[in-house]
């Protein structure tokens, strides 16, 4: 009874982690959706970036759909939905306003998020976090430039010409690189942007969403482990222990047990038990018939293997 209570309690704690991490993602998404103007009033960042982020998230979901799995209960569905939202706001918060760079960033981020594992929902890999952070830095640079009234990425000084002391050459001495407008960044036209407060909010929101997505993915994996554990524990206690010995929990994800429908999960476990029992039986038979002389006498690695086989042979 106490084992069952422990199992149920652990399951509830994973569900609670899913709910908490989802709330964290939503809160981070809220912070990434606002900016403060010069009068410290709240303005939205617009829907364009969010829509493009949602496009990336949906495209990534479609690309992983063949190897990913569906959520199997309500809390998993909720977590998967929030992960979609989290990716959308994360991508939307780092994209440049427009131009060919925008499409390069979209393609790159779609590729990163399409490399999800089998657990339902999207998550961020460390490489994706690095790419997102780099894009966020670039976006912050653009916002900083806009707060100074400089609506270009940078100004290139033309060599030689810029050093000549002739006023009429002024239009030719600097080349603006990557121009944009306040509208594209959704910067309030009349009040401008409070850069310091806004980047603080965005940095906090970005961190919350990244941490939330990572936490949600981990909680989702553990929730799936609990589901598989509950399936195995429906067997008699000794049989369940034997099955968990044959199929250790550490292998459940790599064996693609996560996200399987209930009937398929039972069939897959049965198949694995059959394979592994058969393999164990074959190994035991071979050990019994193995002569001592066949173990060999080579020093080092050979001796270690021979010693291990010898001890196994004695146990049979």
């Amino acid at each position: 009874m106490s084992d069952e209570l422990h199992t149920v309690t652990r399951g509830r704690s994973n569900e609670l982690e899913l709910a908490l991490s989802s709330a964290m993602i939503a809160a981070g998404g809220l912070l990434l959706g606002v900016q403060l103007d010069g009068l410290r009033r709240v303005h939205g960042t617009g829907y364009a970036g969010f829509a493009m982020g949602l496009f990336v998230a949906l495209l990534a979901t479609a690309l992983v759909s063949r190897r990913a799995t569906l959520p199997r209960d309500a809390i998993s569905w909720w977590g998967a939905l929030v992960s979609l939202f989290g990716v959308a706001v994360l991508v939307g918060g780092v994209l440049v306003p427009s131009g060919p760079w925008l499409f390069v960033e979209l393609a790159l981020l779609t590729w990163f998020f399409a490399r999800a594992r089998s657990a339902p929902g999207l998550f961020v890999t460390p490489q994706a976090v690095l790419a997102l952070a780099a894009m966020l830095y670039f976006r912050l640079w653009l916002t900083y430039q806009a707060s100074l009234g400089e609506f270009q990425v940078g100004m290139l000084e033309v060599p030689v010409l810029s050093k000549l002391p002739f006023e009429f050459l002024t239009p030719f001495t600097h080349i603006p690189i990557g121009s944009f407008t306040a509208d594209e960044l959704a910067i309030p036209a009349t009040e401008g942007l409070d850069f310091a407060a806004t980047i603080a909010i965005w940095a906090l929101g970005f961190t919350q969403v990244v941490v939330g997505l990572t936490w949600r993915a981990r909680a989702a994996r553990e929730h799936e482990d609990d589901r598989i554990h509950a399936t195995i524990r429906r067997l008699p206690a000794e049989v369940a222990r034997l099955v968990e010995g044959l199929i250790p929990e550490s292998e459940w994800e790599s064996l693609e047990l996560h996200g399987l429908a209930h009937r398929k999960l039972e069939k897959r476990i049965e198949q694995l038990v059959r394979e592994r029992v058969g393999r164990a039986h074959d190994v035991e038979q071979r050990l019994r018939t193995l002569a001592r002389g066949e173990l060999g006498n080579t020093p080092g690695f050979g001796a270690d293997i021979a010693g291990a086989l010898e001890s196994g042979k004695e146990k049979t």
């Binding site: 006023e167 306040a182 009349t190 009040e191 401008g192």
Partner: protein, 265 residues
């Protein structure tokens, strides 16, 4: 019981997360152009259809008995009001201003500018007519003196009335188009040099535009906000370091193509 309590906590967090998610989507729409506060309802202007006074048909409305002129200015008004409308042969603006008739008309414009709102609109009508009928286009040999003088006339008017125009039902729109015309004339002076630009004129224009609108400051003036609401593209240009009057100049060219510095040539 413990497990039931845990289930309620779980549900509470899911509901809280759902509410946060909805709010996170909705907040992105705060302050978007479509959702911004609508301009204040303006009362009916005292002079009906004030924009007509800035158009080519102003001559048909303004006459000696124009009832908005104060009695102390009535004499000068009756002597001078017709002069801008009678200009022929497209004289250079500075040359015309230097004539006795031009000088007295400029005096009248100054007095009206310092008067009440209806008189200010009347003076603006006269300024627009002068811009329409005189030459101020910058030429290689002629320099920018004409455009500079005309721009100064508009600057005096704008300095007086722009700060309060946003809430004035009579002057709200005329002030914005006057600002656009000023920009068009100023662009001519800034681009006067054969190579490059007149940095002094550009600098003066920058300071004047910023003083009227505070476009690049933390908070724009009422007039700046009015420009942003009615001409967002022009306002966005004001935020730029260079070519900041291009948007306004293009608005003026679109609204008054005949005021081109060449008498509509």
């Amino acid at each position: 019981m413990v497990l039931n309590g845990a289930r309620w906590i779980l549900r509470m967090w899911v509901v809280f997360g759902a509410c946060l998610l909805v709010v996170a989507v909705l907040v992105r729409g705060i302050g978007l152009r479509g959702g911004e506060r609508s301009p204040p309802e303006l009362a009916t202007p005292t002079i009906p259809e004030p924009m007509q006074l800035l158009s080519r048909s102003a001559e048909t409305r303004i006459d000696a008995r124009w009832l908005w002129i104060e009695p102390e200015r009535r004499d000068r008004w009756e002597r001078c009001f017709r002069r801008p409308f009678e200009i022929r042969d497209c004289p250079r603006f500075a040359d015309w201003l230097a004539t006795p008739a031009g000088a007295e008309t400029a005096l009248l414009i100054g007095e009206l500018t310092r008067g009440k709102a209806e008189e200010a609109l009347t003076s603006l009508a006269l300024i627009f007519e002068l811009a329409r009928r005189t030459e101020w286009k910058v030429g290689v040999l002629d320099g920018a003196a004409d455009a500079t003088e005309l721009a100064r006339l508009l600057e005096t008017w704008l300095s007086t009335w722009a700060p309060t125009s946003a809430r004035d039902p009579l002057l709200a729109e005329p002030t914005r188009v006057a600002f656009a015309l000023w920009a068009r004339i100023t662009v001519a002076t800034v681009d006067a040099p054969f190579f490059g630009t007149d940095e002094a004129a550009a600098s003066h224009a920058r300071v004047f535009a910023d003083s009227l609108t505070r476009a690049r400051a933390a908070a724009a003036t009422d007039f700046g906000r009015a420009v942003a609401e009615h001409s967002p593209r022009a306002f966005a240009h004001l935020l730029q370091e260079s070519d900041f009057l291009v948007g306004l100049a293009e608005d003026a060219a679109r609204l008054y193509p005949e005021i081109d510095g060449g008498c509509g040539s």
